[in-house]
């Protein structure tokens, strides 16, 4: 048993969720036992990026034994409304997506027909037997084509292919920048990525005719939003749909969307009065699940002769693909890119123009870190270039600009307050623990040590975490509620259950939130069970994405648990004939401070509260021991970190090896360091992977050049080093509990740190890395280019 005499918050408690997962007893959507007579879906995917659907012949498929039905877009158009995430507002061109297109396809992998069959094997046979005639149309395969003057529009009813745009310039920007001693400028490209959760998407819709109710299991990060949106477009009663996100095998933002397959499965389950199941295969995941990135950043930074950052100009282009995803809409990546680009540095002047561009490619959206990793790839690369031009060390130019304690509270040029943080401390500590200065001293000008080119790189970053309702409204994201909630209930036996409106996909919420609740209630952690991901249990909320779980879920649990704690304390004070202010709850008891023998078991209080005890409740006290509370933080919580990567490049093969990786990180008050470190490790690995190898490519006809994990190159255990993590803890003064978010910071810091380390190792070749990934062939082209001179 864990004692609560020392705080549970901050302890590295191994996770409650582990034992069943380690025994193979997890229950992911595809593991749920299928109800009798479950029917399976198979989708017919478009092989063209832009084409008119001339005809669909399903007659051969329909004759196959075991095929129940085939539907096309025409069958759904009158029963399933389109998903339109954005509302009418300035800066937007509003575009919707049909569950299945009727007339034309807009990306390779968009589905044009669906087979319903008695099993998956037959469904796939039937998919192959459906003949679709297409008339190919001109393709807008990338942002350059989309922005060509006079380009055709991807969507009817729009004036151009920019679905969202925004711009701002601080007063005096032009004068200040023209007075700069140096300006550094370049264009940086981040390619599309697949989020690549190892569990593919999938859902199981189970309709109950007798209650006209649907239970909908789906691999999602946002069960409440899925419920509201399905009912909105199907015109159903929201109280008759229960959405359950069971064990979810990774999401990384990709599962923070509602997908057409989910709408179709839900619709067909009621339509056919049968359980309906669908599981994506890897090809469908790669082609049609919301991708990440696809950005171009044109950035100029101005500095004084002393290396002081004067200002930044950013021209930002986000290719969001064929449709803005639901619920985040067109603005999330492009708007966020501009707001998050000013990093951990004092910077007075800022000018940006940002836009979301539509093209004939798979939708792209809020993959881990969204635009921030790419933004810092640009700004931190330019920071190094400025240092080089000014004869400063990369560490020194950052030292001169990084925010120090005296700068706080600091208001960014886009009016986002930084009220706490350890910007300077993290930088200095990272330099110290890595032995940066000694490494630098020993590094020869040709960078060659033991036959390999060596380099070291720094990435200083901030992340805007834990955003609530007001932040989403300001950013024009209108389908994300923003708040979250928790319900805490103590049973008559004194054990607690806690329902949270979040939906964990591996972040360890069941343990983290149990730590918070147990701490507040004075219970042992083993006496607290956390339940998430079920709209049929617990109150409404938003979900788990954008590094918001600890802040929103943690805050809601804190508030609800405190309400219950207060009631326990009142009852205990009556029993002990003591003043409520003199009581503490700990180790399953309520004690009088300083008189530990004057105590009552919380279990007995619970029995009294449920009329199961000889003693009654105090006069005026109601039955039950539970509370529901909602939490919406007033501000974003700013997380900061410094990453340092050390690389070795084989000059013969061009292979980059990361020899050492250090993160000094501040995510506020740490709830469980084991879990926080795990979040950072995983995020750093995704960042490294996207620098070294990962990319999703289309050709100039919008044809996907990636169809399997043989072409999509993701890091393996051979590519990711051990990662050292050190914590600073500046508690947020703005959030309940002092928590800040941690999910994405690792990716954000990894891009600049690794890119700068590679650039440093290639310093003799004057390499400028402006495009990811940096595969061996890219390194070799840099090396041989120099040799050829």
């Amino acid at each position: 048993m864990t004692s609560t005499t020392e705080s549970l918050i901050g302890k590295p408690i191994p996770r409650q969720e582990d034992p069943r997962l380690l025994r193979g007893r997890g229950r992911y959507v595809d593991d749920i036992p299928e109800p009798a007579h479950t029917l399976h879906l198979g989708f017919v995917l478009s092989p063209h990026a832009h084409a008119r659907i001339v005809s669909i012949d399903a007659s051969a498929a329909l004759e196959m034994e075991g095929v129940v039905a085939v539907y096309t877009g025409r069958d759904f158009v009158d029963c399933i409304g389109s998903l339109t995430p954005d509302k009418e507002q300035p800066g937007f061109q509003r575009v919707g997506r049909e569950a299945m297109p009727v007339d034309k396809v807009r990306f390779v992998g968009e589905s044009v027909a669906v087979v319903v069959a008695v099993n998956r094997y037959i469904a796939e046979d039937a998919v192959d037997a459906i003949f679709v005639e297409y008339e190919e149309l001109p393709v807008i395969a990338d942002m350059d084509a989309a922005l060509q003057p006079g380009s055709a529009c991807v969507h009817e009813g729009t004036t151009d292919n920019i679905l969202f745009r925004a711009a701002m310039k601080t007063e005096g920007f032009d004068e200040a920048m023209s007075a700069a001693h140096i300006q550094v400028r370049d264009t940086f490209y981040s390619p599309r990525l697949s989020a690549l959760s190892i569990e593919p998407r999938g859902c199981l819709a189970v309709y109950d005719e007798s209650h006209d109710a649907l239970t909908f299991y789906t691999s999602t990060q946002i069960p409440h939003i899925v419920r509201s949106a399905i009912c909105d477009v199907l015109d159903w009663d929201e109280t008759r749909l229960r959405v359950i996100a069971p064990d979810v095998g990774g999401g990384f933002g990709m599962k923070a969307y509602l997908y057409p397959e989910e709408l179709i499965a839900a619709f067909l389950s009621r339509e056919l009065n049968a359980p309906i199941k669908w599981t994506a295969d890897r090809r469908e995941e790669l082609l049609a699940s919301v991708q990440g990135r696809g950005y171009r950043f044109d950035v100029t930074m101005g500095f004084t002769a002393d290396g002081e950052l004067i200002g930044t100009k950013a021209d930002i282009f986000c290719d969001i693909g064929a449709y803005p995803g639901y619920p985040f809409g067109a603005a999330t990546s492009a708007g966020g890119a501009a707001l998050y680009l000013p990093g951990p540095y004092r910077m007075k002047h800022y000018c940006y123009e940002t836009r979301a561009i539509t093209s004939h490619t798979c939708p792209s959206g809020v993959y881990r870190g969204v635009a921030a990793p790419s933004a810092f790839f640009a700004t931190e690369s330019l920071m190094d270039r400025a240092a080089h031009l000014l004869g400063l060390d990369p560490a020194e130019i950052r030292r001169r600009n990084v925010l120090v304690d005296e700068d706080l509270p600091y208001m960014t040029p886009v009016n986002i307050p930084f009220t706490s943080g350890t910007f300077q401390k993290c930088l200095l500590r990272a330099i110290e623990v890595t032995g940066y200065e000694e490494f630098r001293r020993k590094l020869p000008p040709d960078r060659m040590i033991d036959g390999k080119l060596r380099g070291i790189g720094i990435g200083c970053v901030v992340e805007h975490t834990g955003q609530g309702a007001s932040r989403y409204r300001i950013r024009g994201v209108r389908r994300v509620p923003g708040f979250d909630s928790a319900q805490v209930q103590i049973a008559p036996n004194g054990r607690a259950r806690v329902w949270v409106s979040q939906a964990t996909q591996g972040q360890g919420h069941l343990t983290t939130f149990a730590q918070i609740a147990a701490e507040q209630l004075g219970l042992n952690i083993d006496d607290v069970t956390v339940i998430e991901g079920d709209t049929g249990q617990g109150p409404y909320g938003t979900g788990t994405f954008a590094s918001r779980g600890a802040v929103l879920g943690g805050g809601a649990v804190m508030r609800a648990a405190n309400e219950v704690r207060d009631k326990i304390t009142r009852i205990a004070a009556d029993v002990l004939e003591a003043n409520p202010e003199d009581l503490v709850l700990s180790d399953g008891h309520a004690y009088v401070v300083g008189v530990p023998e004057l105590r009552v078991r919380i279990r007995d209080i619970a029995a009294m509260a449920h009329s199961m005890h000889d003693r009654g409740l105090p006069v005026g006290e109601s039955f039950g021991l539970e509370a529901t509370n909602f939490y919406d933080p007033p501000l974003s919580s700013i997380t900061n970190a410094t990453h340092v990567a050390q690389v070795a490049i084989d000059p013969v093969t061009g292979l980059v090896e990361i020899e050492r990786y250090v993160v000094v990180h501040d995510c506020g008050r740490v709830i469980n360091p084991l879990i926080v470190d795990g979040q950072i490790h995983g995020a750093v690995a995704q960042g490294i992977s996207s620098v070294l190898s990962e990319a999703f490519f289309y050709d100039d006809q919008g044809q996907a050049l990636i169809g399997s994990l043989l072409d999509y190159l993701v890091s393996t255990p051979l590519d990711i080093p051990d990662i050292e993590v050190y914590h600073e803890e500046s508690w947020s003064p703005d959030t309940e509990g002092g928590f800040k978010g941690v999910g994405e910071g690792g990716v954000i810091g990894a891009l600049p740190a690794v890119v700068n380390a590679i650039t440093d190792a290639l310093r003799p070749y004057d390499a400028k890395i402006t495009q990811l990934p940096v595969r061996p062939e890219v390194v070799m082209s840099i090396l041989t280019g120099e040799r050829g001179k």
Binding site: G24, Y28, D247, D677, L709, P717
Partner: protein, 173 residues
Amino acid sequence: MSEETHTISVQINGRKVKVTVEARMLLSDLLRGELGLTGTHVGCAHGVCGACTVMIDGQTARSCLTFAVQMDGATIETVETLGDNASLNVLQQAFHEKHALQCGFCTPGVLMSATQLLNRNPDPTETEIRRALSGNLCRCTGYVNIIRAVKLAAERMRGLAASSSAHASASRE
């Protein structure tokens, strides 16, 4: 279209099973669908991600690239054989203590690959661990704690480490 069927006898997790399968049924579907052993997961169905890794006659194999009909007479072990109802085995316990799993979806395959490694090499170097697990993709952990957990399990299996406290975490105050 009805497919040709075959009856096979296999030993799965110590239990003899006689089952009739279509010629094209994958071993992963036999395990998960017909036998309810859903601990074995399918992440790519083309032999790259390693989530579906099982042991066939003592050798790790991709159950998504194996037809069930090939298994006549074979002995198959899945993640469900590791540990018992009362306790986790040494490897599982090390994964728990080191936080070597997050979403848990890839974990069964990782455990099977690590089990084979430790069966064959009780004292693997870090490079040997990384090589042995290079066919298992994990998108959550960055592999960091998986490598640490396999090291810890190897130490414990060799009787060199009595408790996790002997093995300092790289996470510092």
